[in-house]
Each structure stands twice: as C-alpha cells, then as structure tokens.
C-alpha cells in the first residue's frame, strides 16, 4: 500500500466544499485517514525521527479540512482569498505534509525526504520552504493569536475567506494561547474556527496530570467563544461541526475534538512515549499491519 501511495501521480480525490456529507464521503475520508497514518509511520520510521502520536490524533480532522472543507487552490498557493489553516501543533507536521502532498501542493514522492538534509519538509513547518504551509510553528501556543491576525486581515479586506487553527491540548498550558483567546473575543472574529485536538496526552504524561485544563469547554466559553464538542475521529461529526462553525455570528468558534493520541495503533494509543517515540522494526511492522487492517475495515 505504501508503495502505491508513493507512486501516486495525481492528487487524491477532493470533495467540493459544497458537496453533501454522503456516506461515500465519510467512508473515503475515514479510510484515507488510516492510509495517511501509514504514510506518517513510514516517514518517521525511515528518518528515525518525528512525532507519531499527535499526528495520528488529527488524521481525520486534517482529512476533512484539506479534502473537503477548506477553499484552496494548490496550483496557486498565494491566492489571497484562500482559507487559511494555522497549524499550531507544529510537531505533528508529518500528517500536515502528507495531506498537503496528496492535495497537490508538492509531489507525494517528496514525503520520504521529511527531516532530511536539503528537504523542503522541515522538522517543524516553515512557510517559505513548504508550499501550503502558512506560518512557522513548533514552539507551542501561537495558533490562536496568529489566526486572529489573519481573521482581522480578512475582515479589513472584506473577504469571505475563513481562518482555521489546529491546536494540541498540551499547548493550552501556554500563556500566549489565552492572549489569543482574548484578542479573538475582543474583535468578535466569527470568521475564525479553532480546533483543539484534545487527546489528553502530552510529552511526559497525561494533560490531567501535567497541567489540568478541564473544564476546558467552560474556559473557552467564559472567554466568549462559541464552543462545539465532538468526537474527533468521527468524520461525520467533524464535517458537521466545521459547517456549524461557519454559521455562528458575533463570536469566534472553538471545536473541542476529543481524540486519542496514537489513534489506530493499539500499543501507541494514549501512551506519552509515542509523542516523539520512533518504532523499531518489529514495532513498525506491527503498527503497519494494524493500520492496514483498519484501512481494509473501512473498505468493506
């Protein structure tokens, strides 16, 4: 399967922004989320470096955004009225790069260069190197404030483009996140949707143990954000929440997506060790087998 992905000449199927959420779409996006996890696994395994856990927890969310919801033109990455995606949890960029490649921003055959010398695919996102990447990210906590600036610019331009940001839950520990929340609320940025990949695990333990963030929905609501909570691996729920977020007026929207770190590989799920862990050969083959099994389940 990996070989067939790498050899793929044309970009993957894209469902138009206006397309209804059919069972076929949901199946397709769910299935490719597992294919892309396998791609990420291969990238990290071959480079012996990268972040699998947090990449696996956002697979469905990114698939829904890049292959249906976002208004983009990969042939013209600088198109000023494109929707923006701020990838705040930069460490999980192996999944971002995989989506960008399959969306047509650069060849899928370039993915194995991830984190290598002379690659456009840096260890953390760099906008001037990688087509489709909007801002530098890696040091955590900046997504909301940067996205707020983009949302303000869209409003000044009278543009209907929308701004999205994907955060990890661990980065909610960072103070600048809450500065961004206040900016978004002050300016009532209803063209802004933030998605929190709430997988409950950060580098050295559970978020509950390291720095408790609950009640997270109440916190965002008290900052005057509209809060939507979903199951973050359920494609139908993700698609519905993204649509709903576009209908809220007068307030920015946060989608709290309850996810599983390392989703899809049983021995990686909910384990802090797989935040930045690299599989050995046995683990790699075992993980790949599980992901292929999940993929084939969706094909049925």
């Amino acid at each position: 399967m990996i070989a067939s992905l790498a050899g793929q000449a044309s970009p993957a199927r894209v469902f138009a922004c206006s397309a209804p959420h059919t069972a076929e779409m949901i199946t397709d996006l769910s299935l490719r989320s597992y294919e892309y996890r396998a791609q990420v696994l291969r990238m990290v395994y071959e480079r012996k470096s990268g972040h699998i856990g947090g990449a696996f927890s956002i697979a469905e969310i990114l698939a829904c955004l890049y292959f249906h919801h976002l208004r983009l033109d990969p042939a013209n990455p600088g198109w000023n009225d494109r929707d923006r995606l701020v990838f705040s949890k930069g460490h999980a960029c192996a999944m971002l790069y995989t989506c960008l490649a399959h969306r047509g921003y650069f060849p899928v055959s370039e993915l194995p260069t991830f984190r290598g010398l002379n690659s456009r695919l840096q260890g953390h996102p760099e906008p001037q190197k990688t087509p489709g990447v909007e801002v530098a990210a890696g040091p955590l906590g900046h997504g909301v404030a940067i996205a707020s600036g983009m949302a303000l610019a869209a409003r000044m331009d009278g543009s209907s483009r929308r701004i999205y940001a994907i955060l990890g839950d661990g980065e909610l520990n960072s103070g600048v996140i809450w500065e961004g929340l206040m900016v978004g609320a002050k300016f009532a940025l209803d063209n802004l949707t933030v998605i929190v990949d709430y997988n409950g695990v950060q580098q050295t333990g559970t978020t509950r143990h390291i720095m408790p963030t609950e009640p997270i929905a109440d916190k965002w609501a008290s900052f005057n954000w509209h809060v939507i909570e979903i199951h973050g691996h359920n494609v139908g729920e993700i698609l519905a929440a993204l649509d709903l977020s576009n209908e809220i007026h007068g307030r920015p929207v946060v989608i709290i997506a309850r996810t599983t770190k390392g989703k899809g590989v049983s021995f990686m799920e909910n384990q802090p060790a797989w935040h930045g862990g690299v599989p050995d050969e046995k683990q790699f083959l075992s993980a790949l087998a599980e992901l292929e099994e999940r993929t084939s389940e969706w094909k049925v």
């Binding site: 801002v135 530098a136 707020s148």
Partner: protein
C-alpha cells in the same frame, strides 16, 4: 557638496511625535499599512495613526507575544504590519515570536521599538533597553535601523515599510536636536560620512550621532581631524564603508546608546577583526544596568557623552601611533 548637517543643530524635536506624524503620512500613502499596539499608543504616539485610521489600528492589550503573533497573521494576508511597543519588550517577552514567526517564518512585520536605549530615563533599567541590538543582530533575516533625528525618522520609516521582510526600527523616546539638513538622503544598508577626516573615524548611530559630531568639533580645536560616519543601519552592516574608513584613517571608534557588548560596536569589531584590523574603541554602556534620572545626565554618567567619544578617539589614536611601522622602526633602530 552641500553639508548634510546643520550648524548649529536645529532646536530639539520630540522623536516619538515625529514618528507619529510619519506613520500618519504612511497611512495616507499606503492602504496596506496596519498599525498594532500593546496598549502604549499614547507613549509612542502611534495614537496619531489610530485617530486618522481607526480601522487599521489594533490594540491587543498588554500582551506583547500576541502583539507580534497577530502582526504575523496580518502579514500573511499581505498587510505591512507595524507592531509597536517598548524596545525591551520586543527583545525579551516577545523574542520567541520575533525569532520563530517573524524571522524564521519570513513574515513582513516591522517592529517599531519605542523608548530604546536609556531614553526612558526616569522609568529606570526595567524599561531601558541596552541589549536589544545584540539580541536582534544574531537573528537571521532581521534588519535593524536606528534613526538619529526627526528628519531621519521621516526619511527612513517609509523605507523600512517598503523593505521586504522583518525590520526593527529603534527609536528614542525624547527630544533630539535636528542634526540633518534636507540634503540628508539615507538608504537602508548604507552608512553616511557626515564629516570627513583622516586621523580617526567615529561610527555612530542614534543619539550618539549628534554627540559624535560635537566630539569632532572638540577634537578639531586640538588639531585632530575626526571622520564622523552615521551608521543608521546596524544590520545589514555597510562593511565596505567601515573597511575603507579603517584603511584611510587607521583608527575606529564606535558610539551607541547600547551595551558595549554585541551592538554596533560588536558588529564593527567583527568586521574589522576579519577585514581590516586597526585599533578600535567602543563607546557604549559598559556592561551594567543604568538607573533612573534625567536623560542627558544619564547618558553622560553611563559613558555616552561627547567627552567620552573624545577620550575614546584619543585612546585609539595613541594605539594607532604606537603600532605604526614608523614608530616601530625607530624602536628597533
């Protein structure tokens, strides 16, 4: 050639007011300019832009990290985002955002740094900024510009805004004498020889330009001809001019309202040590925090007087003469 400097200097002008006026003018010329503040717009006079263009002014509150991050977001959409706060805050609290999102990310954000050097004199060392040049000079892609009077603010700010990529515009809080005549035409990246001389060169920026001119006049009375170069762009450095001055005058002094470590003096020393080693002295704050007090007296106390420039030039000259081949051959004879 018409003189670039006034004699005598024109009456002092409040630099931040000149900045506010220059911002308003830019707002009229370019509708892509957006001004941001971390709630100090009445300090740095960016409130003048707010009054003229309220829809292009954003106050993020006392939140310097958000100030820079929001500016990065605006820049992503093609705006020229001018972020305003105190110099020390850009280079301490907001440094991560400046490094990662502005420099590494290549965002077209301009950092308008108010109250730089010792110029927030009464507020004391918590608010003074004597390490900003050292910190920012080490960041790839950063451009650093330091205007020396109100005319320089007016002529350099539009260039900074038109400059592609990150830039830091470092300004004094207070009144400075009007140094330059209308013939002054600065260009980012090019130093300017204000006074010619062959005995030694002083390379200065900001408030130390007028003090270096005064030093040249004092030295003239002693028969020493000091060349005065204004280095308004600390990065990228005008290496060619510095090397030429070293070869032609054989002694270099730098003068800046900054620590002697890592600022203009550091930059010039790096250049000379590699390209044209000559005796060199640095005038600046001598690796210490200053204190509260009236601006001019504070500058004097912390080694930034015209007399300090004179003394540094004399030291450099002494070393130049001691190391000249002529003197050496006499010793061996």
């Amino acid at each position: 050639m018409e003189s670039l400097i006034r004699s005598p200097f024109g009456s002092p002008v409040l630099i931040r007011k000149a900045y506010g006026e220059a911002l308003v003018q830019l707002g009229a010329q370019r509708d892509d300019v957006v001004v941001l503040s971390a709630d100090v717009q009445n300090s740095d006079f960016s409130f003048m832009f707010e009054a003229a263009y309220p829809h292009r002014f954003i106050n993020v509150g006392i939140a310097e990290p958000a100030l820079v991050d929001v500016a990065v977001g605006l820049a992503n959409a093609g705006k020229v985002a001018i972020a305003n706060t105190f110099a020390f805050l850009f280079t301490t609290r907001a440094l991560e955002m400046v490094r990662t999102h502005v420099c590494y990310g290549g965002a077209n954000v301009k950092l308008a740094a108010a109250y730089a050097g010792l110029s927030d004199s009464f507020d004391g060392p918590t608010h003074q900024s004597i390490s900003d040049l050292a910190i920012l000079r080490s960041l790839p892609k950063m451009t650093i510009v330091v205007p020396a009077d109100s005319l320089a603010v007016r002529k350099l700010l539009p260039q900074v805004v038109a400059w592609s990529g990150p830039a830091y515009f470092r300004m004094c809080r207070n009144e400075l004498p009007q140094i330059f005549t209308e013939c002054y035409e600065p260009e980012i990246g090019k130093g300017i020889t204000l006074i010619d001389g062959e005995d030694a060169t002083v390379i200065a920026c900001g408030v130390m330009v007028c003090r270096s001119i005064e030093a040249a006049q004092m030295l003239m009375r002693k028969g020493i001809r000091l060349r005065v170069v204004e280095m308004h762009t600390v990065k990228p450095l005008d290496v060619e001019l510095i090397v030429r001055c070293a070869r032609e005058t054989g002694a270099i002094v730098t003068a800046e309202e900054h620590s002697v470590i890592g600022g203009l003096g550091g930059a010039v020393a790096e250049c000379l040590s590699q390209c044209a080693p000559v005796p060199m002295e640095r005038v600046g704050v001598n690796d210490t925090f200053a204190e509260s007090g009236p601006y001019s007296e504070l500058l004097d106390k912390y080694g930034l007087s015209a007399h300090a420039v004179v003394a540094a030039v004399e030291n450099a000259l002494e070393r130049k003469l001691a190391s000249s081949p002529h003197i050496t051959s006499e010793v061996f004879e």
